[in-house]
């Protein structure tokens, strides 16, 4: 049979192309445009070459933000992925409790991000917040607006509370897709629960876990709203993550050139690290 090429298909994807062009490609090109020019207002632009990139890459401020960002992202990955898997393993597979668990798990995901930040801000306040007050009452000197460790503790706790559910739901989906016969076969072999986890559940969850790691990596690397509302980057600059820093440069100082260059570098870092993660986790798939 002759293969027919249906040109009508273009007609159907045209609206999407236009939409993507307007909301992704055009803004991105604007950023590229800013990153190689200097402006003194009045809509006058001068060619600047790569000086903004050089400036950002060699700036200690950028290095510090990047290091904080990496610490944040790898900390929450190290907590959320194993914790999510453990919770998913503990969840019931059948019966009425399944839906109860799923709804409970989905709740944090439904709350708007700025509300999460505000919630945890109030929750952690040392004088009136439930957590802050309780911690102080039982003898901890807890004040997240003054002490760096406390700010980080609250920040990580908030992210774990907000996003572990996503990992749980993905891991759970992977687990329930394993046919019962696998568990039976393993029991017949006399395999321990660790062996069942290691040789059946983990390999079967590998794909969804890869997606979970990628999603959590990209989202946490981009995180802005929640830490901005919670700590505003403080105390000092101690919780100023990359995106917060970027907004400070772009909107606070109105340094459009360096901010644009930083955005692009930021974007490339996420792309590169995502690729590394993906390659590492999919290495054994072939």
């Amino acid at each position: 049979m002759r293969k027919t090429v249906n040109q009508k298909a273009w007609f159907f994807i045209l609206p999407v192309l236009v939409l993507v062009a307007f909301n992704a490609i055009l803004p991105l090109m604007t950023v590229v445009n800013y990153s190689v020019q200097e402006t003194f207002g009045n809509n006058e632009f001068f060619w600047a070459g790569l000086i903004w990139f050089e400036q950002v890459i060699s700036s200690p401020r950028f290095h510090d933000s990047l290091i904080r960002q990496l610490i944040f992202t790898f900390s929450i990955l190290a907590i959320e992925i194993p914790l999510g898997v453990i919770i998913a393993l503990a969840m019931p597979r059948k019966g009425m409790w399944v839906s109860v668990c799923l709804v409970l798990m989905a709740l944090p995901l439904l709350i708007p991000w700025n509300v999460v930040g505000a919630m945890w801000n109030i929750f952690a306040l040392p004088d009136i917040g439930l957590m802050g007050y309780t911690l102080n009452a039982i003898g901890f000197d807890f004040n997240f607006t003054r002490q760096i460790e406390d700010a980080w503790f609250t920040l990580l706790l908030m992210d774990v509370w907000h996003w572990t559910s996503l990992v749980v739901l993905l891991a759970y989906a992977g687990l329930v897709s394993i046919p019962d016969a696998y568990y039976q076969a393993a029991r017949i072999d006399g395999a321990s629960s660790w062996a069942i986890f290691r040789y059946i559940q983990l390999p079967k969850m590998k794909r969804v876990l890869t997606i979970a790691v990628l999603l959590r990596f990209m989202d946490s690397f981009n995180i802005y709203t929640e830490p901005f509302v919670l700590t505003g980057g403080g105390p000092g600059n101690s919780t100023t993550l990359l995106s917060i820093d970027l907004v400070k440069i772009a909107l606070g100082q109105f340094d459009l050139g360096p901010a644009a260059a930083m955005s692009l570098i930021y974007f490339l870092i996420i792309l590169l690290l995502s690729w590394v993660f993906y390659t590492l986790m999919m290495r054994n798939e072939e």
Partner: protein
Amino acid sequence: MALELKSVAKQVDGEVHIHPTDLTLAPGSFNVLLGTTLSGKTTLMQLMAGLERPTSGQIWFDGRDVTGVSVQKRNVSMVYQQFINYPNLSVYANIASPLKLARIDKAEINRRVMEMAELMRLTPMLDRRPSELSGGQQQRTAMARALVKDADLVLLDEPLANLDFKLREELRDELPRLFADRNCIAVYATTEPMEALLFGGNTATLHEGRVTQFGPTMESYQHPRDLISAQVFSEPPMNAAKVTKQGGEFLLGDSIRWQADASTVALADGSYRLGVRPHRVTIRPDGAQPVAIRGHVRIAELSGSESTVHFDLSGNDWVSLSTGVHDFDIGAEAEFHMDVSRAMYFDDAGHLVGAAGGRSD
């Protein structure tokens, strides 16, 4: 080393899955559980394995009560309809896994895995992962894993059902050879009567959670105890119709009548259920005592050199199986011939009371 089920029953949430069942499987025997989907084959196997505990009754193995003993502590292995292997282990490691868990030493494991791989024709694939194998090879790996540990009881739950026709034939031919020199009890569940006949051994026919008959396969086939067993052990299902015996004659409907033979003439007058296997209902007269019957054709199918014709016989759905290719008009009346010298007669309760010529096949 016999496996005995002593009035074993299983209920789940008040629903009966297995009615009280007594069954004794001899050491070294090959046993087929034959029944349709949901007839209780899988449940019965899980009870035998110890994966499920019976609601009542006992399971004895080798003269010992093993009812409450967990599956890990019994020497059992199982092959499923789905191809179950450890996804990220090589074929070698998969076959070796039950031996490793049993803490057998490395050289011995290696010897047994290589021997089993040779038997299963998996030697060239030992380094591959299950996902890189064909369906047939994946199932052979699962079988190798089940056989390598020399289990006392090997359960095969429709292992060939997910394979395509050619691979199924191939593995079906290999199976009896694999079990020939083993001293284990093999239990093979299937929905196909033809497989039971191919494997020989013993056959248990299952219907709605009840073992309706158990015995040597040919015996069960030729002397079904009742209509249900006969229908389970017949593909297409056995034809049935109400007949009346008057004097030395049987009467079907108003006009079809035939003489009772030596083995059925002694039956008392009254009404009976007649059973005739589809291949004894043919388009051309065949056998020792063909009787002409007429009916409206409902469906006519050709498969290779056989014609399967469904037709209506006084309100009963009958099937005729003939060799050769025949053409039928749907809805038209056609003539068929049933060989009553191979017919069976059941009483109202469904029990076999007489078989023409002493047997039916």
